[in-house]
């Protein structure tokens, strides 16, 4: 099943583990064709990406995201701090942020929602599950969800 909106949805993955990033990217490619996919390794890069700093000023290569897939355990600034920064920023807080973490811990879930995460997903162990997760995630967030326009 391929999902396509009238407008392609731009996705930013924040993930420090390169293997996981590759895994998610591949699954994404297999089921969510037509949308754009970018990847940064940590929170500082993510903020730079959103603020269009340095190389991220290139809108073509690094499109401003509608949706962020966020790992919580990141070096330096961790996922929560990044989430709080995004959701407290008047420019970026409209972005849908979906936490994708290997943690099921209640404290993490609580803290993520407290920081206004839009959804919280646990990284599945198998590719099939991961595919399923991303597919449904795609169905909802990419097909039906209506996004706010980027604020100038």
């Amino acid at each position: 099943m391929e999902l396509k909106q009238q407008q392609p949805i731009r996705i930013l993955l924040v993930e420090d583990n390169p293997d996981h990033a590759e895994l998610i990217h591949r699954v994404f490619r297999s089921c969510l064709v037509g949308n754009t996919f970018s990847h940064v390794e940590d929170g500082e890069q993510a903020l730079a990406y959103l603020d269009r700093e340095g190389k991220f000023a290139d809108d073509q290569r690094y499109p401003y995201p509608d949706l962020i897939l966020l790992d919580l355990r990141l070096p330096k600034m961790d996922g929560f701090q990044l989430l709080e920064r995004i959701k407290s920023s008047p420019c970026h807080r409209h972005i849908v942020v979906i936490v994708l973490s290997s943690s099921r811990e209640e404290v993490d879930v609580q803290r993520a929602y407290q920081a206004h995460a839009n959804s919280y997903l646990v990284k599945p162990f198998s590719v099939d599950e991961m595919t399923e997760v991303l597919r449904y995630l795609g169905l909802y967030w990419l097909k039906w969800n209506v996004y706010a326009k980027r604020r100038p």
Partner: protein
């Protein structure tokens, strides 16, 4: 007859003299002839009958005798004239006085021819009357009095007895009153004229005799208490012996005995009770003190005075009773906190008891005090020393805090571990699927690349597990506690890293302080600390063209401060604590798994030290500090 031949003048003088003597004679005197006529009467007689001498002389004596006694007198009269013996009669006179005076009559025979001889009838009788009314009255009164005394004597509730002191000093009971007989159970008859030994037996009598002796010798009343097994039962008596003097010696002892059996029993009970309280007071584990509150004129509590303290008080406060009783607390402890005086002031004023715990700085102790007011203005305290308990409490709280910290560390640790071990697993399982897909599609190259990822993930997992194991070992035990020069450990660690001593082809400048001190600790573990810090410094040397690592130390009170300083990449100040977290890596591209610094932290903390990082920021190098106590407490 020559002697009769005296001059009439001489005779007249004699008569006058006789008359004067006769008249001055204190008893009534009358000269009566054989006919019973009064020939002479003196003034005393006249006053006895209340008549003038002129009314008496020449009258018959009968006229002045009471009608009832007249015949008796007349009957005896002839005998009086003839009898040589003086006879004494009692009779009443008759005159103007009422009631008729009662007199004792003595008759003396007189004859003109001289002293009457034998039964020769005398010519005259000299009758002398002495009034016996007064004496009679006093005898009557005495009889009355004796009666009253008898009544009193026998009516007394106290046992009374009279003891006669013999010439030889022996004692005999004379009389006892009714109460005595009733209470002692010995009748008057049984006791009269007997010695104490005869009445009471040898045992008690000796004691009584001693008391009597004492009374006689001292001439003063003697009191003694005695418990007697009398026929009425065992009784206790308080006896007072009072000496009675007669003819220059103590002739009698009056004894009065009050029964004190019940009093004694009550007293004994009170004494025992008191003693019991005293024993309780003396042996109470709690300190006890009674105080008097001192207020100022506005009723504000100023101070208080120690009135009484028990031995436990002395033990618990270290204050000695003889040094503080009577003094005020501010005299004894000038540095005492106001709160004590205010609290006690409230108790003494309101009478409301109070329980509180308070620290006394001058005594350096914690006390739990119960204070109450036995009467307004006073207060008593019962207290225990809870310093030890407080210390235990603090230790317990410290322990609980430690445990809580450890627990949270542990849960943080478990969280990190489970989280970080899942990472490689997700990689392995995920890429295995891709490998399968690649092989199905015949894309061997892709499969090989993915298998490589799987291998690295598995290796990472192994490394993580080993790191965990190492960390848990460090947390559990220290191998041994040695004393060794810290410089040795540093040199060894530097040599182990010799293979890495060149950084990206550039030689590294090593500077080790020559005077590193001797430390106490687990040599092997501390060696790990140095190795890991050096390893870390090398790893984050970055693009530094002149890499340099410096190891030095500082002396501080109670501990040594060591540092490992590099001029490498440095750390953003906001992440300086994060570097010690397990599996934390600031740069995902560097080697290692975020275990080294966690291990350093663990080892240093187990040694009782602290560890921290200092860096002015990125590219400005970094200094890792750690401390080691000079003297170790229990390191287990």
């Amino acid at each position: 007859m020559a002697e009769w031949e005296c001059s009439s003048a001489e005779l007249e003088r004699m008569c006058t003299l006789f008359s004067a003597l006769f008249n001055r004679f204190p008893a009534g005197g009358v000269l009566v002839d054989k006919e019973g006529l009064i020939r002479e009467a003196n003034l005393a007689f006249c006053s006895l009958i209340g008549c003038e001498p002129s009314q008496v002389v020449g009258k018959s004596i009968q006229d002045f005798l009471h009608e009832e006694d007249r015949s008796d007198f007349l009957a005896r009269c002839p005998a009086l004239f003839r009898q040589a013996q003086e006879e004494i009669l009692e009779l009443r006179l008759r005159g103007t006085r009422q009631p008729p005076p009662r007199v004792r009559l003595q008759a003396g025979r007189l004859s003109l021819s001289g002293e009457p001889k034998g039964t020769e009838e005398a010519d005259y009788l000299l009758l002398t009357f002495s009034e016996i009314d007064e004496r009679g009255a006093s005898e009557f009164a005495l009889r009355n009095l004796l009666g009253e005394y008898e009544t009193l004597f026998n009516g007394l509730q106290d046992a009374v007895f009279l003891i006669e002191v013999g010439e030889e000093g022996e004692f005999r009971y004379l009389r006892t009153n009714a109460a005595y007989q009733q209470k002692i159970g010995v009748t008057s008859e049984r006791i009269r004229e007997r010695t104490p030994a005869e009445v009471l037996g040898p045992e008690w009598s000796a004691e009584i005799r001693d008391h009597c002796q004492r009374c006689v010798e001292s001439g003063r009343p003697v009191a003694y208490e005695q418990t007697l097994d009398s026929p009425a039962g065992r009784r206790t008596w308080l006896t007072t012996l009072t000496p009675v003097w007669s003819a220059g010696r103590i002739k009698y002892l009056i004894g009065t005995s009050i029964e004190t059996t019940e009093q004694r029993a009550t007293q004994e009970a009170i004494r025992q009770n008191g003693q019991r309280y005293r024993i309780l007071f003396e042996n109470l584990m709690e300190g006890f003190a009674l105080h008097e509150m001192i207020w100022d004129e506005n009723g504000k509590p100023l101070d208080y005075r120690f009135l009484e303290v028990n031995p436990a008080f002395e033990r618990l406060t270290g204050l000695k009773a003889e040094e503080i009783v009577g003094k005020t607390v501010l005299q004894v402890l000038p540095g005492l906190e106001r709160v004590w005086i205010e609290r006690y002031g409230e108790v003494a004023a309101s009478g409301k008891a109070m329980i509180f715990e308070e620290y006394s700085a001058p005594l350096q102790k914690w006390y739990e005090v119960r204070a109450f007011s036995p009467e307004p203005g006073y207060f008593a305290t019962v207290f225990i020393d809870i310093t030890q308990r407080k210390r235990w409490q603090e230790e317990r709280e410290q322990l609980i805090q430690d445990l809580q910290r450890k627990n949270s560390e542990l849960s943080q640790f478990t969280y990190t571990v489970s989280h970080d071990l899942r990472g490689p697993l997700i990689t392995i399982l995920g890429f295995l699927t891709f490998v399968e897909q690649s092989l199905e599609q015949g894309d061997v190259e892709q499969a090989k690349a993915d298998l490589q990822r799987i291998r690295f993930a598995a290796e990472k997992m192994q490394a993580l597990l080993e790191g965990l194991l190492e960390l848990s070992r460090v947390g559990r035990v220290l191998n041994s506690l040695d004393e060794f020069p810290f410089g040795e450990v540093v040199t060894e660690a530097a040599q182990l890293l010799l293979g890495n001593i060149r950084h990206q082809g550039r030689p590294i400048e090593f500077e080790i302080a020559p005077d590193l001190p001797v430390v106490q600790g687990d040599r092997a573990r501390l060696s790990q600390v140095v190795q890991n810090l050096l390893d870390n410094a090398l790893k984050y040397m970055g693009e530094q063209p002149n890499p340099r690592i410096e190891i030095g130390w500082r002396d501080a009170p109670g501990e040594f401060l060591f540092y490992v300083r590099d001029n490498g990449m440095g750390i953003d100040p906001s992440y300086q604590d994060k570097v010690f977290g397990l599996f934390e890596k600031l740069d995902p591209r560097t080697e290692g798994y975020g275990i080294g610094l966690a291990l350093v932290k663990r080892i240093v903390e187990v040694h009782g030290g602290r560890v921290w990082a200092e860096s002015e920021g990125r590219g400005k190098g970094c200094t890792f500090w750690f401390t080691l106590p000079k003297v170790h407490r229990n390191l287990s």
